[in-house]
Each structure stands twice: as structure tokens, then as C-alpha cells.
Symmetry: C2
Subunit: 229 residues, 2 copies
Amino acid sequence: MTFNEFKKMAMISMEEICSDIFRENKKSIKIKKEAVAVRNLTNIFSTTLKLSNEKGFQTMSLRDLSRSSGLSMGALYSYFTSKEELLAMIQEQGRRLTRNILTQQVGHIADAKEKLRAAVRTHLYLTEVMQEWFYFSYMEAKNIDKVEQKKAIESELATEQMFIDILEEGKSKGMFSLSDPVLTASAIKAMLQDWYVKRWKYHRRRISVDQYAGFVIGFVESAVRAVKA
Amino acid sequence: MTFNEFKKMAMISMEEICSDIFRENKKSIKIKKEAVAVRNLTNIFSTTLKLSNEKGFQTMSLRDLSRSSGLSMGALYSYFTSKEELLAMIQEQGRRLTRNILTQQVGHIADAKEKLRAAVRTHLYLTEVMQEWFYFSYMEAKNIDKVEQKKAIESELATEQMFIDILEEGKSKGMFSLSDPVLTASAIKAMLQDWYVKRWKYHRRRISVDQYAGFVIGFVESAVRAVKA
DNA sequence: GTCTATAGTGCGATAGAC
DNA sequence: GTCTATCGCACTATAGAC
């Protein structure tokens, strides 16, 4: 799957998740017509992500959000009951997309080495499409309440577990040679995170997502002394 | 040098930098007696780091800082002219310590492989001692003005350049086999950053700084196929 | 050199008109 | 379903007592 095909697929998945979130938050959302609600929710989410990436969620006032989204203060409060709830909804939206796409793209592959490659590539494509969300989620994770914080930690560990499983499978089948699957998975994740956290650095150096994916795969395969395919 | 020796040395270096900052900011600081000023500045800096690590610099109000530090609002404003300036002073303090210690610990080593090991270990020790500062600096980097942001970027790139230089030297001497020193240095940096950004993860898994240093060195040496010493 | 008191601003949130 | 107007509060920053 090319990056453009991936992007199209992720966008469709995203819209579905937005509808799900509307349906599940009907008690907080005063709007009844789904078409109107989903359109405005999408606007609110993307504007919040844009502003938060510029100056942080705490620093973004709801007046900023009102101005940039074109919705009045009153209208905004038809979609959430507090600024904190808005943050929680956005976090949930991204976590679901991450889980859905990773499972769908990686789950069915049999060979451990191919699985590792697909997981790295899918994660990078995902963070490329959802760059603002990942950066937001990463940076705002400590500003949320304990319940939401726990969800963020679980989501992070679940992604890491996927890499641990792949590495252990490859190790047990003699395809990889490595001593510590947990730390190795953690190192892979650190490299994947760098792609969206230090985006300015890679952009400045004119490194494309496919180039970076190639590098990470090569670097990891070299470290775990993966047998040539 | 053991971690405890390193810690003692870093603390002394830190106090000196605090004095330097006092002397350089005499126009903003109303206090005239150096002994009093440095004691209070140290208190203000460490309290700010503590509170910011809990909930972020923006979210921390100066009332919070006043309460936790034991200094009144008025007293606080004798040490800086605005909240923004306080942030800038703290950023400067950490950048200097990073630069001083890395140069001092790594500069004099001749062998590229030993240099790589020392650089990784020193950086991890440094972030361990200055954990709160590094996390703070990492998280608040986008909430500062353009001038300060540029300084943060330069500091980050300078550290990365140190790794690029080591890798290129090792490559040209046939000690390392790698295709892309820039991306490799960037990957090393990502792993080093993970140590202080995702501290909860390593703490939960009971991984010590020396264990992590050993893993990173092994992982990187394996990836660059470093010849055994 | 440090305090308390307060000025002035902008925030999150809501009520009620349309 | 969306708007404008406004409330009460917490913030940064400062002035003046001690």
C-alpha cells in the first residue's frame, strides 16, 4: 500500500470514528442532527489540534478556538460541557484510529520479519497522516485527569506490546538475534516517536516518510541481525 | 566515573551556573547581595521545575510558585520581570550545564568507539541528574518566543552534531559500518530522550540508568557493526 | 529585601434572545 | 442551533508599607 492509498483509508476511518464519538457523547452534546453535529465536531477537533500544536492546549483559550473555528462561544458549549471534556474526546478519537489501523494492517501478516516492517511503516504512515493528533496527545498527556492518563498509558503500552510480540516471535523462530525484546521494542518506539515530535528536524533535512521508514527498518534489522530475506 | 561521582560534579557545576545567571541578569534582578539572590534563585528554579513537571509551566500560576517556594508574589518579581523571563533563565541554565558537561567528559577521548560509549553514558547520567530540567525543556520548548526557540533548536542540534562527528570519525577509520551518520545520530538521540521523557515506563520496569546505558550502547554498536574492542 | 493589597485583564462558563 | 452579553473568578504584575 502506498502512502496516498493509506491516507485515503485513514481519512475514511477517521470520519467513522467521529460519528461514533458523536453517538457515544449524546448526553453532553446538545445538537440532535447527526449531520450538523459531525460536521461541527470535525471542525472543532481539527481547529483545536491546529491551535494546540502552535501553543499548547492550556494556552489556547476557548475564545481563540471560537475565532478560528468560526463558531461562537455558546455554540462550542453545545458540543462539550467543559474544555477538559473536549480534550478527552480528541484523545479518544486518536487512540481508536491508532488501534484500528495497526490491527488491520499488521494483524494478518504471518512472517515475523515482514510483520516488523509493516508495523514500522504503518506506524510512521499513521503519525504522518495524524501528525497533529500524535503531537497533541504526546504533549498534553500530563495535563489530563487520572482516568484519562491511565487510558493514554494503556494505549502506549499496547502499541509497544505489539512490537515486543513481533520481536519475540522472530527470536523464537531464529530469525532475529536479540537479548532484550522489551528494551528493543521501546527503542523502536522512541525512533517512531521522534518522527512526529521532532518533525521540524526531518523536514528541514528533506527526509521523506518512506526514507525514514527505510532507515528505521534497516537500523533495527541490523541491530537484531535479521537474516536476509 | 561512577554515577554518584558524576552527580556530585554536576551539582557543583550547577551552582556555578546559577551564580553566572545572577551576574548576567543583574538588570532584571533587584536583589543586590549575591548570597541571598543565588539562594532564592536556586529555590525558585527548582520549585518551578517541580511544579512544571507536575502540570506544565503555563498551568503553574505564580501564586502556585509563591506558595510552594515560600516567597511572596512581590519577592518573586524581584528576581524576574515576567513569567516568560523566568522560563528563559531556566532554559539557559540547563543548556549551559549540558554543553559544559558533555564537552568536559567526552572531548578529550581519542578512540571513536570509547567516545561513543562515553557520550551515551554521560548524556544519560546528565538527564538522570537533571531529569526535571530536561523534561521541562522538552515540553515547554514550543511555549517560548522565537528567539528562545532558536536557542533551544541550536542546542539540540549541537548535541546531535557531537554524535554525528563521532560516527563519521569511526566510519572513516573503519571502526563502524553505517550508511547514514545523520539519521543514526538522530536515532541515538531519540533513545536518549526516551529515558527522561518516558521515565515512568523504565521506572515501572525497574531498569537502572546503567542498564539502559548498556542496552543503548549494545544496540547501537550492533547496528553499526562496531568491531569488538 | 520582603511583605500585603490591589489594579487591570482575560478566562471558562452560562442565560436568554433570536 | 447559534448568537451576544455578562457573571464571577483567577491570573500577571505593581505600588507602597515595613
